[in-house]
Symmetry: C2
Subunit: 419 residues, 2 copies
């Protein structure tokens, strides 16, 4: 007997037929004698629909009310899955964020989970009742509804798994594992049997779209065993098809020959580039830009500052998620006098391409190989950032697919048999 | 300065453009110096969509989880209205059922409001903040989400108006008042400037579709001044178009000449007829039918029992809302041995037609006139019930519109100028 947390994404929850499929997978785990909690996303498309309502209502919407609106999507699917399980003879009930409760910070629309009260939840699970938990939502200290930001359901699942000390956290999605890159762009992409937490962090944060970054960071911190697998299709024995296990680095290193320099290529078209021109080149200038952005809970990703012009000023460029651009521009316009920049320029026609791999640490030349491969195809690099296991570049979004294909081949990731 | 509760139905909340129209009406009341609470329905069609998900998931759905699912519709519109008001410069916040809280009974899917905590709500309203309250929902004693049953938002509005001691409860809807009958069926239907609580009770309960029955009963009990008016169109002075005031009987009686024998004709196609054949004619037999239905919170409307056959048994017929038929049949099938009937027959092809008027009490012959008018057109009457101010008949639903038109003319309700 094990205690497991299962998480199903929006595509797996899109409509009652698919919810029945989810319920059948849950039932299978219950019949194996396991204690099960299920974390669910909203139906595919539903969160977008709700977010669009908010944007239409008010471009600079109140994040507190935004959370009231968007949290409803997961509320619906958790109720529907609970009743579907009951219909199949499996005892189940929904636990909304404020009912459990899942306490979060009060940073509405991008709250962080602080603590999860598990006494009542665990008592119900031990009594054989499946706990169905809407992902993405919690309750802030003042009793208001909070949400974790887009893709937050993965984080909910890992946090619940950590809180109930689950033996495993199975993340079911519409892909059957983690690939070397997006198979829709590169048909020869290969499924990885194992990937390290650190690699997943980079792959997820740069748009591999399999797991939310924060969930992987949390899994690493809390040592939660996470498995990514498909909610569609079954193995011949009726079990799940094999997915991708996310493991500690030591486990990969023992694999010897199988280890590779580069694990995968990721891309992200949802970034927006913002440039402030002629920022005074004095101590505190950069802080005056990023402190108010941080206060507004806007996620800044790449930051590029060149050496100062001879005029004593410099240009500062950075990227934010496209969805946060309007709020970022608003914050910066209000802070114009305090920062003292000349112009505020933005560009949403950009894409970030990253090559990721734990093997990179011991190999020079990865970045050079990347720039050469892109230059050979005439792809202009607008900005560069690097980390220990990643090199990322910002390019014009029109070149996204070309860049991914070129790099997938350049690093020898193409599968031998075409998909 | 007055304290008012405004309520907007699903058609008024269907989409952001309409929500802006609602916000403009709310803003107008705020600018008049009034303290305002707004109760909102889900967007038109949304509750149906959610109910259909539940039915599809499980024909005999768990009402507890059903409430989790369907309460989300009003949660969405309350958040959207709050942020739209803010965008227009009006301070506002949403108050979900569990946040206020609105305490209800634990009869899920048809809960009753027990108490409403108003301390925090009134403090915010007095401070000039508009309170946006999702209709239809509350929280049960065990902390689970509860809903009041379809159309419950009217009841929420009247209950909030009573709890905050509002000077007025304005119910905005997609019709501009209460008519003598459905104007879509009878173009010569007339708008009533005043109608009594008692008449509205009968008109609403038999399908006039303007106000939910329970809300009118509650308004009568709590002496809440209710006004029904349109959320579309304005008077030439920019104010609301005149609607229908719901008043005490004494106010109508002082109107002398204007009082009429019959106030209106209502119809309802959402009833289903259930017949149990050969029920033993012994004490307790009827109780054995209706006690389990009541325990399952199924609303039984008309009940007809004829005198016993010579065999010592009798047929019992009653009607329930079409939406509760499946549950009713389930309860009755499970109780077959205890009740001891022969057959369980049901028919959803029925309509209930009612003539309503406080003047009826002092006039004999209303019923006779009704049966004759229907018989003249060959319309067969399947069942009859009467109250002090109403006569209702059950007919085949195909004859609904014909019956309404015939009766509207027979009782002299047609307007002199065709609409």
């Amino acid at each position: 007997m094990a205690r497991i947390v299962m998480k199903f994404g929006g595509t797996s929850m899109a409509g009652i037929e698919r919810i029945r499929n989810v319920a059948a997978r849950v039932k299978r785990e219950v019949e194996r004698g396991n204690e099960v909690a299920v974390v669910v996303s909203a139906m595919a498309g539903e969160t977008d629909r709700l977010v669009n309502f908010c944007r239409e209502a008010s471009p600079l919407y109140d994040p507190r009310e935004y959370d009231v609106v968007v949290a409803s999507g997961e509320q619906v699917t958790s109720g529907l899955l609970a009743m579907t399980l009951q219909q199949m003879g499996v005892r189940a009930r929904s636990w909304l964020g404020w009912q459990m409760p899942i306490h979060t910070s009060s940073a509405h629309a991008s709250a962080r989970i602080e603590t999860i009260e598990t006494d009542k939840l665990l008592a119900a699970m031990k009594d054989g009742q499946v706990a169905v938990i809407p992902g993405f939502q919690g309750v802030a200290e003042d009793g208001s509804v909070s949400t974790l930001g887009r893709g937050g359901s993965d984080t909910s699942a890992v946090a619940v798994a950590a809180a109930v000390k689950a033996d495993r956290c199975d993340i079911y999605t519409d892909v059957d594992g983690v690939y070397t890159t997006d198979p829709r762009i590169v048909p020869r992409a290969r499924k990885l049997a194992r990937v390290t937490y650190e690699e997943m962090l980079e792959l997820a944060s740069v748009g591999a779209k399999v797991l939310q970054t924060r969930s992987v960071g949390l899994a690493l911190k809390e040592k939660v065993r996470v498995q990514v697998l498909s909610s569609f299709g079954d193995a011949p024995d009726g079990g799940d098809l094999p997915g991708t296990m996310i493991v500690g680095e030591e486990e990969v290193e023992t694999m010897g020959m199988e280890s590779q320099l580069i694990t995968g290529i990721a891309h992200d078209k949802n970034e927006a580039k913002v440039t402030l021109t002629a920022v005074p080149d004095r101590p505190g200038a950069v802080a005056s830009i990023f402190t108010p952005l941080a206060d507004a809970s806007i996620n800044v990703d790449m930051i590029i500052q060149n050496v100062a012009h001879s005029t004593g000023s410099t240009d500062v460029t950075f990227t934010v998620p496209g969805s946060e651009l309007a709020r970022a521009l608003d914050v910066l316009e209000k802070g114009k006098d305090a920062i003292g920049y000349a112009e505020l320029v933005h560009d949403t026609s950009v894409a970030k391409i990253s090559v990721v791999g734990v093997g990179m640490r011991s190999h020079a030349g990865v970045a050079a190989q990347m720039f050469k491969a892109l230059a050979d195809r005439g792809i202009n690099v607008q900005a560069i950032t690097t980390s220990e296991i990643k090199v990322s570049v910002l390019i014009h979004e029109d070149y996204t697919e070309l860049a991914v294909r070129v790099l997938h081949t350049a690093y020898g990731l193409d599968a031998e048999d075409a998909a």
